[in-house]
């Protein structure tokens, strides 16, 4: 039962509604009926008009004085666990994901053409042409860890001209509504808002969830495995669930890659990948594998430099709020690593401040394997003897693999990419951009925008 005082806003087809109760079954039914009606009428605006609204939005959000941006900083400082410095930095970049050039890059990356609406999109080297239509009604299920992810998902749903519903995470029931209200501010022509709703109910409310499970054309799920299991059950015959469940990312540093590096620049980039989103995003590295043949002196320099980089970043972007449980998890890893060293005699080093702000746990023996980190800027440094051994290590975890950050020589990259992708890795990128994917590239092995549309094919 929701606390009587626990008022929050929902955004129903352009209207902000204050409530102190989660979305009820009755309200859900009304919402879906209206969505069906809109879909039947084909009432969604043109891609050009949508991009124009986003262009206005992007301009507004790029202004640090924009009232809603200021409000967002306050809201996120309150509802998320991230530090104010980090939130400020994210909001600094936020406007970019709304900018027309970014959105068109995305569309072009996914479909091979920047304008897909109602046009025949020719496929290279074949006579086939495609028509791209919106999937229809789309529910985006937000996770609480990365507050931007659900917004990007929503924007994807909008630019593919769907009727969109966003189920907010219980951790953040404010920022998505604030964003929807920001859209309304610049959507005088009612291009987007009449087909947009942002709602909340507590995860696991079966009756409401069943409405959406059977009433949607697509459900885009972001989050952990337990919630995913529940969303996988009892889906409607025409509902497709697009799963973005939990994933793990890691880094690879080869001997020749390290030898040809500016070590300070390399570790600054790795530290950024580690610290961004406090490792709670699926594309942040949890382990870094360093080739075993890297000489001891170079390895020490690498560790020292990484420690320096993490410290530097810690000063600029101090960690946000962490729960006691999170601290205990880091503490456990540190203590168990030291115990391993004391009991087995294996060289293990634990580097990091006593306050547990960041931690490097480095093992010198290769083959010590796959081990998720407790997150919160805790990086596990492992050694690997060969690319083949590394691939073997990850093969049995292939369904969870996502991004690999790399520092390799030019001649190694191709072989590493082919081998690691063959065991399930879906993205390889240089360190420093692991959590900042390039627009128009696939995510989790597929193009998100393609999941949000229906293709019709025209053959000669």
């Amino acid at each position: 039962m929701t606390d009587r005082k626990d008022f929050f806003k929902q955004f129903i087809f352009g209207e902000s509604i204050v409530s102190n109760e989660p979305l009820s079954v009755k309200e859900g039914e009304k919402l879906l009926a209206r969505g069906r009606e809109l879909a039947r009428k084909g009432a969604v605006s043109s891609q050009d008009d949508i991009v124009t609204v986003f262009s206005r939005l992007s301009k507004a959000w790029s202004d640090p004085g924009y009232e809603r941006r200021r409000q967002a900083a306050d809201v996120l400082a309150r509802v998320s666990d991230y530090g104010p410095e980090f939130i400020k930095a994210v909001l600094e970049e936020f406007a970019k994901i709304l900018a027309p050039e970014y959105l068109l890059h995305k569309i072009e990356g996914a479909f091979g053409s920047g304008n897909i609406q109602g046009k025949l999109v020719a496929q290279r080297e074949s006579s086939i042409r495609l028509i791209v239509q919106p999937a229809g009604q789309v529910l985006h299920v937000a996770s609480g860890n990365v507050f931007i992810a659900c917004i990007e998902s929503l924007v994807d749903g909008i630019i593919t001209r769907n009727i969109n519903f966003l189920k907010m995470s219980s951790d953040d029931r404010e920022f998505p509504v604030l964003f929807a209200e920001s859209i309304r501010e610049f959507d005088k022509e009612k291009v987007i808002c009449p087909a947009l709703s942002v709602v909340w109910w507590p995860g696991g409310s079966e009756a409401v969830e069943n409405l959406f499970k059977t009433g949607m054309d697509r459900i885009i799920f972001w989050g952990g495995q337990e919630a995913l299991k529940s969303w996988q059950k009892d889906l409607g015959e025409s509902t497709l669930l697009i799963r973005h469940g939990h994933k793990i990312s890691f880094g690879v540093v080869s001997r020749s890659g390290l030898a040809s590096s500016d070590i300070g620049h390399l570790t600054d980039s790795i530290a950024l990948d580690i610290a961004i989103w406090e490792q709670k995003a699926c594309n942040c590295p949890q382990m870094i594998f360093v080739e075993e043949s890297v000489p001891a002196g170079d390895m020490q320099r690498f560790l020292d430099s990484l420690a320096g980089s993490l410290k530097k970043l810690n000063d600029a972007f101090p960690p946000g709020r962490r729960s006691s449980d999170e601290y205990v998890e880091v503490l456990k890893y540190r203590e168990l690593a030291m115990a391993k060293h004391f009991v087995t005699g294996q060289p293990v080093s634990v580097i990091g401040p006593e306050t547990l702000d960041w931690t490097i746990i480095s093992e010198e023996k290769s083959g010590e394997g796959f081990e998720p980190s407790p997150l919160n800027r805790t990086i596990l440094i492992k050694r690997y003897s060969s690319l083949h051994a590394l691939a073997d290590l990850f093969r049995e975890h292939s369904s969870y693999l996502q991004t690999v950050g790399y520092r390799l020589s030019e001649t190694e990259l191709s072989e590493y990419a082919v081998t690691l992708s063959s065991v399930g890795v879906t993205r390889l990128c240089p360190f420093g951009i692991m959590a900042i994917p390039t627009a128009g590239t696939p995510h989790d092995g597929g193009y998100i925008l393609r999941d949000l549309v229906r293709f019709s094919v025209v053959e000669h």
Binding site: D81, S143, G144, N145, V146, A149, S169, D171, W222, G223, G224, Q225, E226, A227, H244, G245, H246, K247, I248, Q279, K280, A281, C282, C284, Q286, R322, S323, S324, D325, E326, Y327, V328, E329, L331, K332, E335, L336, M338, A339, K340, F342, V343, E354, T355, L356, E371, P372, S373, P374, L375, Y400
Partner: protein, 402 residues
């Protein structure tokens, strides 16, 4: 075959050791640690601090000299005997995290070779393993006996026992089983029933229906019934009993002492589960006879509830709560990780044990014993937040599935 014989012999020796102990309830002094053992476990006399300090100092020296692992822990923390100048320095004795014993078999050399292995029940996934030498075992038995006596649970009237514990013939090393068996010596024993046992098929099962039948028979007999062990299973049995026969009308002087298994139980029943309220609803037991016990395989001192339902810290131990981020010692009433100190165990470096349980230390209980007590809030270190990053606890779940 030879190994089996050795194991059987050890088992018999262990059983006899417990039996022999309870025959006389006596103990002879070996060193300063034994000066702590008295028949008044909750008395903190003016000389107690000095005795406790001397015992901890002796224990520290022993583990430092005879356990390579612990010596390394101390060297890493720049701590040696010279740092132990007085009682206040005890708080600085380097700790070992309880989870370490779930990963590694760590022992301290002692004079006696005979050791009993104790393992935890594994409610949180992994079992910890502790080796107890005869001296440590006897100290614990002595301490436990007088703890129960001080809290009014040693009685001359025979009782029937229902143990929500594994039959020791299945695994006699499980610490909770051993604790429960020890408790059956607190009265003359009429009959003992183990609710976790194997049927004819050989598979270990929770014999809920059989436990209900047995409880019914014991009720009819009219002798006091003592129900001990895992709280989760107790609740299941009493729910089932109520469905079949109504609220369980326990004979006079009956009691319930739960211990272990609450970590599993806290989830399905929610954080607000109250053991006393549950037993009030399902039984006629006097709430003063419903007691919960906090103990760890790695520590083995008993923190038993008084009639006010506070888990008292006996004078063979010291406890504090620590801030998990800074390790700072917290004030009374402030919640943190529970850190336990006791010099009783010689064969394992657990003199300063940092647990992964949240709780706080209460300054003084309103019961006749007074003195500090531990309030356990829950298990620490399992992040409840949803994240799309694959996390360690998910990895454990996936690994177990395979």
């Amino acid at each position: 075959m030879a190994i089996k014989t050795i194991e059987t012999t050890k088992k018999i020796i262990k059983e006899r050791a417990i039996q022999n102990f309870f025959r006389t309830v006596s103990y002879s002094r070996k060193n300063v640690v034994d000066d702590l053992l008295t028949d008044r476990p909750y008395e903190f006399s003016p000389s107690w601090e000095k005795k406790f300090f001397e015992a901890m100092k002796w224990s520290f020296r022993h583990h430092y000299r005879n356990c390579e692992f612990y010596r390394k822990v101390c060297i890493k923390n720049n701590f040696d005997e010279k740092r132990l100048g007085g009682f206040g320095d005890i708080w600085d004795i380097p700790h070992v995290l309880s989870d370490v014993f779930k990963m590694y078999d760590i022992q301290t050399r002692t004079g006696d070779m005979l050791r009993a292995e104790m393992s935890s029940s594994g409610t949180s996934g992994r079992r910890s393993k502790i080796m107890l030498n005869m001296l440590s075992g006897n100290r614990l038995l002595y301490s436990i006996y007088y703890i129960y006596k001080a809290l009014g649970l040693v009685n001359a009237t025979p009782a029937n026992y229902i143990l929500m514990a594994y039959n020791p013939s299945i695994d006699e090393n499980i610490a909770t089983t051993n604790s429960d068996i020890i408790m059956t010596y607190l009265t003359p024993r009429r009959e003992i029933f183990y609710a976790l046992d194997s049927k004819r098929e050989g598979r270990v099962e929770f014999l809920k229906d059989e436990a209900v039948d047995r409880l019914r028979r014991y009720m009819d007999e009219g002798l006091p019934v003592r129900m001990l062990g895992f709280i989760h299973h107790m609740c299941e049995v009493l729910k089932s009993y109520k469905e079949r026969y109504g609220r369980a009308a326990f004979p006079r002087e009956s009691c319930v002492i739960s211990g272990g298994g609450w970590k599993n139980f806290s989830n399905p029943c929610g954080d607000k589960f109250s053991m006393v309220d549950f037993f009030k609803e399902y039984t006629t037991l006097d709430p003063r006879n419903i007691r919960d016990l906090y103990t760890l395989n790695e520590h083995a001192v008993f923190y038993l509830e008084c009639e006010e339902h506070n888990k008292h810290i006996p004078n063979v131990a010291l406890a504090c709560a620590r801030d998990p981020r800074t390790m700072a010692r917290l004030d009374y009433g402030q919640t943190g990780l529970i850190h336990l100190y006791s010099p009783l165990i010689e064969s394992c470096p657990v003199l300063s044990l940092l647990t992964t349980d949240y709780g706080y230390i209460g300054k003084s209980c309103g019961c006749s014993l007074g003195g500090p007590y531990i309030k356990i809030i829950g298990r620490a270190g399992v992040t409840k937040k949803v994240t799309c990053a694959f996390t360690a606890d998910q990895y454990v779940k996936e690994t177990v599935k395979r």
